[in-house]
Amino acid sequence: MRTADLELDLDVFAGPFDLLLAIVLREEISLLEVELGAIVLAYMEHLDEEGELDLEAATEFLVLIAALLELKSRLMLPAEEEPELDLGPEEAADELLARMLEYRRYKDAGAELSRRFADNRPYLYRSAPLPPELRRISLEASRQAYDPERLGLALGDLLTPPPVVDTSHIRPTVSLELRLEVLRGLLLRASRIDFDEAFGAEDRLTQAVTIFALLEMHKKGEATWSQRENFGPIEITGERRGAGSGAAR
């Protein structure tokens, strides 16, 4: 017996160990003598027994057949003189055996789990939302969990304006953001604006961009406008701000 063959098994054989088990236990012949066609048939049969022919099984099969092809081609090449090997045939067999036994342990444990799963499947559990009165968090049971300073800090962050970028070298253009700012500024002071009154003196481009800004605000629910007739006055109405600023001081 050439130990190299067994070593080769350990290195190259990447197929499912249950197949290897089946081949070794049932067929009792060496891999070298197995027609690859027979392997295909044996594996198809194996899949049949499993009752699954899914993508995973197909992938496993491809990996297996590729490994076997390589294994067989190596076996068929004339053997070179082998250098001294660490593993004797008995030890190599033991190592392979240990791996097969370890595999078999979990295969059998898996079968036991499958049985348990089937046994427990008829028990069904309730999955329903809590009744409304329990969904509310109980006020009495609540204790302080947060530091109010956290809110002050967060607000401070929000009040920090971003660093100002010097744009003096850029030729003046009409920016949508600026028009939005202008509109919002006006709407902060007055709930209604007449478009002509506010923007009639601006150039056409600025007026056009302002209209565009209005569309944007309308989309966001910040403002709406009405025009009773074509080319008639446009009245802009802003969203009314909440009264006061709460506890802000």
Binding site: L124, R126, S127, A128, P129, L130, P131, E133, L134, R135, R136, I137, S138, L139, A141, S142, R143, Q144, A145, Y146, D147, P148, E149, R150, L151, G152, L153, A154, L155, G156, D157, L158, L159, T160, P161, P162, E177, L180, E181, R184, L188, K220, G221, E222, A223, T224, E239, R240, R241, G242, S245, G246, A247, A248, R249
Partner: protein, 195 residues
């Protein structure tokens, strides 16, 4: 159907009502159990008897949509203790910012929160709502939901009232700006959002 049959069917009906979160119409019970209406009615009678008030932790109720199991009122106190525990995991930065905006500016709309933060704040608003820290306070004229903080918020932050919120000037990087807090927040937010 025999007596035993009615008792057996009552058990199946109990199981069905247990699993169903909504009231089950008699017709659905008939279909599921593959029996006639008389059998189902008998089984429901047996079940109503078994689950008569004071006998078990559950009672059988007939409501508009059909039959439903409910817990008996005596268990409510314990149920509240078991299930209605306040959830107070640490606030994320997004949640803290959103909550600060609602706390200081309330009532405040979601578009406004988004403008101040410079990002859509839907998920933070939703989480704060689910935790009971903020609640809806109606709608703006434009249909946007507006928010305010809750009593639970004050409790969880140890505040006697909203007046006890920390003075923001202590955290204010631009205290010389006299403009109203809301206006300054919006302005800073828009500057952040601007490219």
């Amino acid at each position: 159907m025999t007596e035993g049959g009615a008792a057996e069917l009552a058990r199946v009906v109990e199981a069905l009502l247990f699993l169903s979160p909504d009231p089950v119409p008699v017709g659905d019970l008939i279909d599921a159990c593959e029996v006639g209406e008389v059998q189902i009615r008998n089984a429901l009678d047996v079940l109503a008897e078994d689950l008569a008030p004071g006998r078990r932790g559950l009672v059988l109720r007939e409501v508009a949509g059909g039959f439903v199991l409910a817990t008996e009122p005596a268990a409510e106190h314990a149920a509240r203790r078991l299930l209605a525990r306040p959830k107070t995991p640490p606030l994320t930065a997004a949640q803290a910012e959103t909550l600060a905006i609602v706390a200081y500016l309330q009532p405040v709309s979601r578009p406004e929160i988004a403008r101040i933060r410079g990002v859509s704040s839907e998920s933070a608003v939703q989480t704060l709502g689910e935790r009971g820290l903020i609640e809806e306070a109606g709608r703006s004229r434009f249909g946007a939901v507006i928010y305010r903080t809750t009593e639970l918020f004050e409790r969880l932050f140890g505040l006697g009232s909203l007046e006890d919120l920390p003075d923001v000037s202590a955290f204010d990087p631009t205290p010389e700006d006299a403009a109203e807090l809301r206006e300054r927040l919006l302005r800073a937010g828009e500057q952040r959002a601007a490219p």
